[in-house]
Symmetry: C2
Subunit: 495 residues, 2 copies
């Protein structure tokens, strides 16, 4: 996970959400059929498909190199329905089971998007391998956030965990490109290479600031800034906003997603300042689900920690610990006031990838309860209850799966500190402009804003609920729907 | 609480969030300095102050009579800092303690709004009595939602409950007009009478549909519909949107506030379809905190129920039951999956105002636990723990106040059903357009939209968090900031 300054993304002085009237434009500095704002996974996929469809494409990237949040990600891509990698690893999956899972995982799902994503998922797999990504036919069985080795397939969400496993037949759908460690960088490299190969032209170090609107409301260009001067870029067919989410913009978080101000490790790039969303809002686009976000305080790996128990400040358990780490992160931040402890025994304990501190280590649970300042007989009762049932392979309260059930019994015991003041809480926003599956941006009344499209996290896509999220839904969503936007805008009538 | 059809508010075909260009307006059917959209508490207060300041004011009201959600409310108004009513009832309060409480209660508070509201609160009290409202100097001590008699003062939030009572010195600030039963209707009557007396002209049965925008972006009028035909209404100084929240609009709930789709008893009028918010968004206004809402499943009165315990589907307690009923409603809906039981003994039990059904009645807690299908030894352990400490006047888990602590011990025991499938969940939305304290509407980049103002729940005001809300914050907020908007727009330069 990469962290960037939360301040540097705010360049308020130079941003105007209101479009500039075309009448104020005296000459264009550049022009193309399609202008894409941002060269992350979403903008890149857009540019590739638009160019392949014959459009002249210009990509404006604020950084000196593209990649966006996709490059900073672990690199999982959510793919299923019976991909070659799933089959080679011996897993059965179907479009319908994937659909059932994603409808639940998306929370307030956009059914049309989930449907299309699932129906055309095998084609998307082929597209991704077509641009040079390779998924090793090796299943990573150990519970982790992103496989540390080059294994190509893993469970990347709560598919096998309660209550998701009762609603859809589990299958691993997290696909990771063949590389040791995080896979985001190689995904970005392959996308950028494909953008270049497609004939789309990328202009780096160009910061989009404002859209240009014709009197009839159609968006016809972009006002941008490069090397200290303003440039005007005409878009004959349309502008595609793909400039990223807003986790780096504290002012936007305060107004739209205040709980994420407690996310002390924002995941993304400096560019994730929500500027594309604001530009779209100024053009009449509706920004939806702006309060939804992914958050995690990853208490595993080590996988052994899944056998431990998470408790709140009342010493109560509140989730099955084998749920996806984003589900527990969501539960801790949004339902438990941002404070929890992971209670481990000495056999289970190891340092987490997020380097959580230990809040206390004691020989008995009674002493641990006291050391943590938990209410008398609270943690002790919770552990006693958990242990009694875990010994029988049962978790009557939260239905953690059997392989993770084992009494806590090897002293000393420790409390891994998952309180927001002391632990890393990482995350990013889900909200964005309301779009059709084609990438066309919608107003608050569901009408299309002519000439305007959104991709990447400038659009509200599949993920809309931190409690259901699975790793790979973002990169999967932005590349898939970026492609759709690219095809749509390439086929649009010129202004 | 009043309920209205959730469908009738959706008249999509006739609403356009994009403003109509002034160039398309050939003639005006009506005109005034100030056009106010909606005659609820917010629009009414706006109209009164604008007219008193000398402006010619036209109020467009979609219904045949005004009142809006204010008329449907219980009629509490949040006032403090040492009002004559507080003093007459023997309570001390200060602007600073009120400020501390409201900063916490608002959640992601707009500090400028909270500050101004508190600083000028005694003046607002005088304004309200000045339009004819009377607050009887009688303190209603018994915990309730709205005093059933004509008592003028009560605790209407979580002021005296943990954790709020540790942050600000408690004082009762819920002021109810002198009337038996709900006070909303009389507030609306007095406001409407004051609107009429002020010289502002109200036109009923006029449904605002779209704003009119001049080429330079300034809002200069409203497109509306009456008696089947379209009318154009010019606003020389400005348009004030005060057309209510969006609890009646299921499409908007799905996109902005999906958890409230489970609110089966939406509180407001048919007009609360968010149309004013959408009109403002179309003009470039930013809608913020759109996911925030008030929700309650009022398990008291009877006040005796505050001594009972709320448990979730794991048989765990999760809140101090003396918290405001909106705080427990928020906890149940948003943190406990929408499902809870109130566990009572026979001495505490009576029918609730919300007519909750009983999920089970049994002679022992063990039998109740079994009858509810709760995990074995879950509820029994919870009751045993609660009883043990309640007997000593303590609640180590959630710090319920002493007067409400007493062991559950008189069989039979019952579970009052507070599950969303079986119980009433009532509520309304908090989100709206981002505004300055003056009512001026802001874009996503914090610039003022010329000629456009918002009041009532078309503006995001004081309440921004269901877990902290207190009754009376809404009517207090919309009347106070409506007045501010009215003064501002009356002083504006004509277009």
């Amino acid at each position: 996970m990469a962290q960037a300054s939360a301040e540097s993304g705010n360049e308020r002085a130079t941003v105007a959400s209101e479009p500039r009237p075309l009448g104020e434009v005296s000459k264009w500095d550049m022009e193309a059929d399609v202008v894409v704002v941002g060269l992350g996974g979403g903008g890149g996929a857009t540019a590739i498909e638009a160019a392949r469809a014959g459009a002249e494409v210009l990509v404006l990237e604020r950084a000196s190199a593209g990649g966006g949040a996709t490059a900073e990600s672990g690199g999982l891509i959510y793919l299923g329905g019976g991909t070659p990698t799933q089959k080679a690893c011996g897993f059965e999956d179907s479009t319908e089971e994937m659909f059932k899972f994603l409808m639940m995982a998306s929370g307030p799902a956009d059914e049309a998007k989930v449907r299309l994503y699932c129906d055309e998922n095998l084609d998307h797999y082929d597209w991704l391998t077509g641009i040079g990504l390779e998924f090793k036919a090796a299943f990573h069985a150990e519970k982790t956030t992103t496989p540390e080795n080059d294994d190509g397939l893993c469970y990347s969400g709560s598919e096998a965990a309660h209550p998701f496993c009762e609603h859809a037949k589990p299958a691993p759908r997290g696909h990771k490109p063949k590389v040791v460690g995080d896979g985001g960088k190689i995904i970005a490299e392959k996308i950028i290479a494909a953008v270049d190969a497609s004939g789309a032209k990328t202009v780096p170090d160009v910061l989009a600031e404002t859209l240009v609107r014709r009197d009839d409301g159609r968006i016809v260009g972009v006002v941008a800034r490069t090397e200290g001067r303003e440039i005007l870029v005409r878009a004959r067919k349309g502008v595609v906003l793909a400039a990223g989410g807003f986790i780096m913009n504290k002012e936007m978080l305060a107004k739209y997603c205040p709980q994420m101000l407690d996310c002390n490790y924002p995941t993304g790039t400096d560019g994730d300042d929500g500027r594309g969303i604001r530009m779209g809002m100024g053009a009449g686009g509706a920004a939806i689900h702006m309060n939804a976000a992914f958050v995690t305080t990853p208490f595993y790996p080590p996988a052994s920690h899944v056998k431990a128990i998470l408790v709140n400040e009342q010493g109560q358990r509140f989730i099955n610990e084998d749920a996806y780490h984003g589900a527990s992160g969501d539960a801790i931040l949004n339902r438990q006031g941002g404070n929890a402890y992971l209670i481990v025994d000495t056999e289970l304990y190891a340092e987490t990838i997020a380097f959580h501190p230990k809040a206390a280590v004691e020989e008995t649970i009674e002493d641990l309860e006291r050391a943590l300042g938990l209410p008398e007989s609270s943690l002790t009762a919770t552990v006693e209850y958990f242990n009694k049932h875990a010994a029988n392979g049962e978790d009557p309260l939260f239905h953690k799966a059997k392989p993770y059930l084992r009494p806590l019994s090897v002293p000393p015991y420790a409390a891994v500190d998952c309180r927001k003041a002391n632990a890393i809480f990482a995350g990013f926003t889900f909200g964005g402009l309301d779009t059709l599956t084609t990438g066309e941006v919608l107003t608050a009344d569901g009408k299309v804003v002519a000439g305007l499209y959104a991709a990447g996290r400038n659009a509200a896509g599949l993920p809309r609920w931190g409690g259901g999220y699975a790793s790979g839904m973002s990169v999967g969503c932005v590349t898939f729907f970026g492609r759709k936007a690219g095809k749509t805008v390439a086929a649009a009538e010129p202004a």
